[in-house]
């Protein structure tokens, strides 16, 4: 019962949130919402122990696919978003053939190379990808009304509600997968692939499954982004963006579902709001880099370990049983 109340309060808070923000902060909130899906899907991939440097390009695949489906074929935008996700997942399945011959550091760099090739293809083939300038004038999400609220998707608040709804559904699915026997198998593949295989787990199939699901959701995130900004180009998905996603996940901590999300929120707010408000326009990379180093040195298990410590203390104080141990995994 109290759990429901917590969720209700959170929902109301999230609904009210944009109304307490300035216009540019609302814009940032939209991008933040989309990025939450990017890191959360990235985490699903890392459950199997593989760290990819191609996730952002896969997100771009979703963005390009959705943009082209709506632009060239005139398909209704929310449908193209789903198709974008599916395309991204299919590309991931194709990529899995060369990539899953590699592991660890080789996979990291192999995924980087594969995604650079995709990016070069976007640049090289001006038709249909628009070359180095990418695609612009992407159809926006068509406005509509649900009676109590009129969605005008130019306004960040509207798009925040819309993308927030989609992202919430995606997060729920990701969460269900992680907590299911499938999720447990992903963990097993990560920690001892040999033993998992001896227990009858088809390693290739599970690695590919995780890669495809993660990519599908990244593709949806990319589509959400494309139809909001209205333009995409190969540079929007380059390795520097990937480095940000990677650091969100690691600084946030990857032991829990919420760790990467936390990392994404905290670092984005720091970089896009706090540092800009403080007027550190051109010093931002310096400070951001220093904060990253300090956080990893002093919180090696990520920001999530702070939350755990805090909630642990409270739980210890209230009810001295350790039932939460399983849930923390």
């Amino acid at each position: 019962m109290p759990k429901y109340i917590v969720w209700m309060v959170l929902l109301v808070a999230l609904l009210l949130l944009p109304h307490g923000l300035s216009f540019s902060q609302q814009e940032i909130l939209v991008f933040l919402t989309i990025n939450v899906l990017v890191v959360a899907s990235y985490r699903l991939l890392t459950l199997t122990g593989e760290w990819s440097l191609g996730h952002v390009v896969i997100m771009g695949v979703g963005a390009y696919a959705s943009a082209l489906f709506s632009k060239k074929l005139g398909i209704y935008v929310p449908v193209t978003m789903l198709l974008g996700g599916i395309t991204a997942a299919l590309v991931a399945v194709i990529l899995s053939f060369p990539l899953f011959r590699m592991k660890g550091f080789y996979f990291l760099i192999g995924s980087f190379a594969a995604s650079e090739i995709i990016r070069l293809l976007w640049k090289r083939f001006r038709d249909p990808f628009g070359g180095a300038k990418g695609i612009k004038g992407i159809d926006p999400m068509p406005d509509f009304s649900i009676g109590i609220y009129d969605f005008d998707f130019f306004e960040p608040v509207s798009y925040y509600y819309f993308s927030g709804f989609i992202v919430a559904i995606c997060l729920w699915i990701l969460w269900r997968i992680e907590k299911s026997p499938v999720g447990l198998t992903f963990h097993a593949v990560h920690w001892q692939d040999k033993l998992a295989e001896a227990s009858g787990v088809n390693l290739r199939a599970y690695r590919t499954l995780a890669f495809a699901i993660a990519s599908g959701f990244a593709g949806i995130a990319g589509a959400l982004l494309a139809h909001y900004i209205g333009t995409i180009n190969p540079n929007s998905f380059d390795v520097e963006v990937m480095v940000f996603v990677l650091t969100w996940a690691i600084v946030g901590g990857t032991a829990t579902f919420y760790g990467p999300i936390l990392g994404c929120i905290v670092l984005t707010v720091l970089n896009e709001i706090v540092l800009r408000e403080l007027g550190f326009e051109q010093m931002r990379p310096l400070i951001y880099g220093a904060v990253m180093i300090l956080s990893i040195l002093f919180l090696p298990n990520g920001l999530e370990s702070l939350v755990q410590k805090f909630s642990q203390r409270r739980a210890d104080g209230l009810a001295p049983n350790k039932a939460s141990k399983g849930a923390a995994e």
Partner: protein, 396 residues
């Protein structure tokens, strides 16, 4: 003047493209100081101090959108200067909604839907034809050329333009244009390839100075002695140091030093170019380049239009700016133009200088009219632009 007008500066200030934004912001700051010291901007009976508000868009369309929203809705700016390029399409919906007036350095952003976007300074790459025209007139013995450019949004239209200009001038291309990856650092292979055809002319297109310098050095070291033509030659004194005065003699490009006496002529609309150049070099030694003055010259144009309109309101300024179809371009009065190439007449095109290195110093050899060239050879330009998918209706 106790009232202020805010001007937005929305360009990359950090990251790999910062060189296209940061020096421009520095230049604008100098411009603002000079204007404010001279009593500010006079609209009607009031004078206003100018204040620049900058936002670092990191050359990312999403951040540019956020920045535009902030500058317009929170800071209340009257005008926003952008580098443009990748970032403009992200801002365009905001521009449509708010009617804010924007400027870009990259006219390929223009299209029939961009009613409030202007390209008032550098109409890249169309001015490049003037250099070729001058070359053909003054060195008619040079008959063959090769060219190279980085494979990006600046390189491709520039390749198309030079191809048109060479064709118009009767100069033969010995090879397909060589496109290289923007991340290239070692240009020896590129130059080896170029020189393998024994050309009279090597054209460097709109290579950034990061490329022009090492390419020139390689040309020198691999024994080239012919003519070089390029859009820019920022820091040419350093190129001379790396090669030789003889090698660089006669190098043609299109961006003068602002201490050039030819800029003191009456036709020039840029306020006190010599003084501006001196102040800039004093404050930011070694950072001068085309961007340094281009944003400031846009401010000149804007200031004139606003004072004429007696208002800083975007639509009033826009109207005043375009009144009569002509405007005060830095290098002389010019006309609003561009329907054929861009689908809209929002590019200010007139004369452009041809600069040649003589005795180790850049010298303006004259101003040439771009529209005149276009009237004669426009079809060639359109043909080559189309071949590279660079016409406005080909850009998705």
């Amino acid at each position: 003047a106790d009232k202020t007008i805010k001007i937005g500066f929305l360009a990359p200030l950090t990251g790999a493209v910062a060189a296209w934004g940061k020096p421009g912001l520095d230049g604008c700051q100098i411009w603002a100081e000079r204007v404010n010291a001279a009593g500010g901007i006079k609209l009607g009976d009031d004078s206003y101090t100018v204040e620049l508000v900058s936002y670092d868009n990191e050359y990312d369309p999403a951040k540019a959108r956020t920045g535009a929203t902030k500058l317009i809705r929170e800071d209340g700016v009257s005008f926003i200067m952008m580098l443009g390029g990748d970032t403009w399409p992200g801002v365009q919906p905001v521009a449509d909604r708010t009617g804010m007036l924007f400027s870009t350095l990259l006219p390929s952003d223009l299209s029939p839907d961009t009613a409030t976007l202007f390209a008032p300074t550098e109409v890249h790459p169309i001015y490049l034809v003037t250099g070729v025209e001058w070359l053909a007139e003054n060195r008619p013995e040079l008959k063959t050329a090769v060219m190279c450019a980085q494979d990006d949004a600046l390189g491709l239209p520039s390749v198309a333009t030079y191809l048109a200009a060479f064709e118009a001038a009767g100069i033969e291309m010995l090879d397909e244009p060589l496109l290289f990856d923007p991340a290239t650092t070692d240009f020896a292979p590129v130059v080896t390839r170029l020189l393998s055809k024994n050309p009279d002319i090597v054209c460097l297109d709109t290579c950034y100075s990061d490329y022009v310098h090492p390419i020139a050095e390689q040309l020198f070291q691999q024994g080239f002695t012919g003519q070089i033509i390029s859009a820019t030659a920022d820091f040419y004194d350093q190129m001379i140091a790396k090669t030789s005065k003889e090698f660089m003699e006669g190098f043609i490009f299109q961006f003068p030093d602002f201490d050039d006496p030819a800029l003191n002529g009456d036709n020039i609309n840029f306020e006190d170019p010599n003084g501006f150049y001196a102040t800039y070099n004093e404050r930011h030694p070694g950072q001068w380049g085309a961007v340094s003055w281009e944003y400031a010259s846009i401010m000149d144009l804007w200031k004139a239009a606003a004072e004429k309109a007696g208002s800083a309101a975007p639509d009033a300024v826009a109207a005043a700016m375009k009144e009569g179809g002509t405007g005060n371009h830095a290098f002389g009065d010019a006309k609003w133009w561009g329907t054929e190439l861009f689908g809209i007449d929002n590019a200010l095109v007139g004369d452009w200088p041809v600069v040649v290195i003589q005795d180790g110093k850049a010298v303006i050899k004259g101003f040439r009219s771009i529209p005149d060239w276009y009237d004669k050879h426009g079809d060639l330009l359109v043909k080559h632009m189309q071949a590279y998918d660079q016409m406005w209706d080909q850009r998705s």
